[in-house]
Every structure is written in structure tokens, then in C-alpha cells.
């Protein structure tokens, strides 16, 4: 598997085929004397900002904590065991509702979009 071509930036779906984001990052565990093991994929604006540089990454992390509270300081991770590559996209055996990935969209829905009639 070519990680850059076949995994990074691919569309991620949850168990009910809901689009939850793109593979913004790939996390590998460094082990002494053994090849690095893919442990998780990362999603979210913090991971993306870090790809632009260390400083943008810090700004985004601070912004996320100030807006969403402490638990948003770290990017969202999905264990690689739960992920499955079906050619073009990545399907994850999780419920997006259980994760905090949609936290900002839910906040937007409850506080802004939901308030407008006919939403």
C-alpha cells in the first residue's frame, strides 16, 4: 500500500456511510528494531494546520481550545484497526455520533442553523 497515494487525504466514511472528513494525518508508532507500525489516522483542522507548519498548528490548537474547550486541544484519531480501505475511500467501523469529530458541526447546528426557520 502506498500511504501517500492510497491513504493520505482520502475521504473517510463512518459505519452508516456518513462523510466525516478526510484522512488529514497518518500516525505511526516508532519501535526500536522493528518497522514503524500504522496505529491511527487523524482528522481535523489541527492536523491540517500542522501540515502547513508548526506555528499554524499551534495557532489552530489554541483556537480550538479557546472555542471548544480543553478536550479539543488534540486532533481526532481513529484507530487503524477500525479503518478499512475500499479502493477510493476509507470506511471506519465507528459511529460519528460517539466521536467528537462532528462537535463543531453539531454546535453550529444547535446554535445557528437550527435556529433559522425551515432548517
Amino acid at each position: 500500500m502506498e500511504l501517500m497515494r492510497d491513504l493520505l487525504d482520502k475521504q473517510v466514511f463512518d459505519r452508516r456511510r456518513v462523510k466525516i472528513g478526510k484522512v488529514d494525518g497518518v500516525v505511526a508508532e516508532l519501535r526500536r528494531g522493528k518497522p514503524p507500525r500504522i496505529v491511527a489516522i487523524e482528522l481535523g483542522s489541527i492536523t491540517l494546520a500542522r501540515r502547513l507548519g508548526a506555528r499554524p498548528g499551534e495557532w489552530m490548537a489554541q483556537l480550538a481550545t479557546r472555542v471548544g474547550g480543553k478536550r479539543h486541544a488534540e486532533p481526532h484519531r481513529i484507530a487503524w484497526k477500525k479503518a478499512q480501505d475500499n479502493g477510493l475511500d476509507i470506511e471506519c467501523d465507528i459511529e460519528v455520533g460517539e466521536t467528537s469529530i462532528f462537535a463543531w458541526q453539531d454546535w453550529l447546528r444547535d446554535h445557528v442553523i437550527g435556529r433559522i426557520p425551515g432548517a
Partner: protein, 110 residues
């Protein structure tokens, strides 16, 4: 558990032990071993002329399109020969001569 984000390696310049740039990381290969997906090798593209362009994916695509990349222009670096603890500065852990794809490149005098 020490972890690293592999996406930071994309397009990074790889330095030889003597600090000389040998090209940019283009791809990271991984294989399924048992129930683990592990990194097996890193591909570094050799573009003597278009150094800047080869740092971005669209640059590589253009170079490939116009056949500007030498067919053998690829180092396949095994996982244990590249130190990626600091993804911003991947370093080679073995001399140049041991790299597969090395054919005594004239312009990369050691």
C-alpha cells in the same frame, strides 16, 4: 509509545550522513504483516535539475508527465535506513553507496 505523523514526511528533503541533500520523499510504502500494517520503505525521487518542483506532488506529476525524471531516478530506502524521529529533517543512517537505485550518480559526489 513514541509516534510520528507520516504526512509531515511528504516532500521533505532527505539528507545523507554528510548533510548533503539526495532528493525529496515521494512515497512511503507499507505492507500488511499479520494484523499489523508496517512501513517497509521510503521512496526518494532524484531530480537533479528541478529541485524545487520535486517537493510538491503536482510538481512530481508534471515532471513525470514530461519524462524529466530519470527512469531509475528513485532511491528505495529501507525503513531501518532512515531516521524519521524528527519528520522535518529525515536523515539517512547508511552511506549513499548502499542505497538501491544508486548508480554512481555523477553529480551527487559523496
Amino acid at each position: 509509545m513514541r509516534t510520528v505523523n507520516l504526512e509531515h514526511l511528504a516532500g521533505r528533503r532527505v539528507l545523507s550522513q554528510r548533510g548533503k541533500s539526495i532528493g525529496h520523499i515521494e512515497e512511503i510504502l507499507a505492507e500488511q504483516r499479520g494484523d499489523e500494517l508496517v512501513v517497509t520503505e521510503f521512496h526518494v525521487g532524484i531530480y537533479a535539475a528541478f529541485e524545487r518542483l520535486s517537493a510538491s506532488t503536482i510538481g512530481i506529476a508534471m515532471l513525470d508527465l514530461f519524462r524529466l525524471r530519470r527512469r531509475d531516478g528513485l532511491y528505495r530506502i529501507p525503513w531501518d535506513k532512515l531516521d524519521i524521529s524528527d519528520p522535518a529533517r529525515p536523515r539517512l543512517l547508511c552511506p549513499m553507496t548502499e542505497l538501491p537505485g544508486w548508480k554512481g550518480q555523477k553529480d551527487l559526489r559523496e
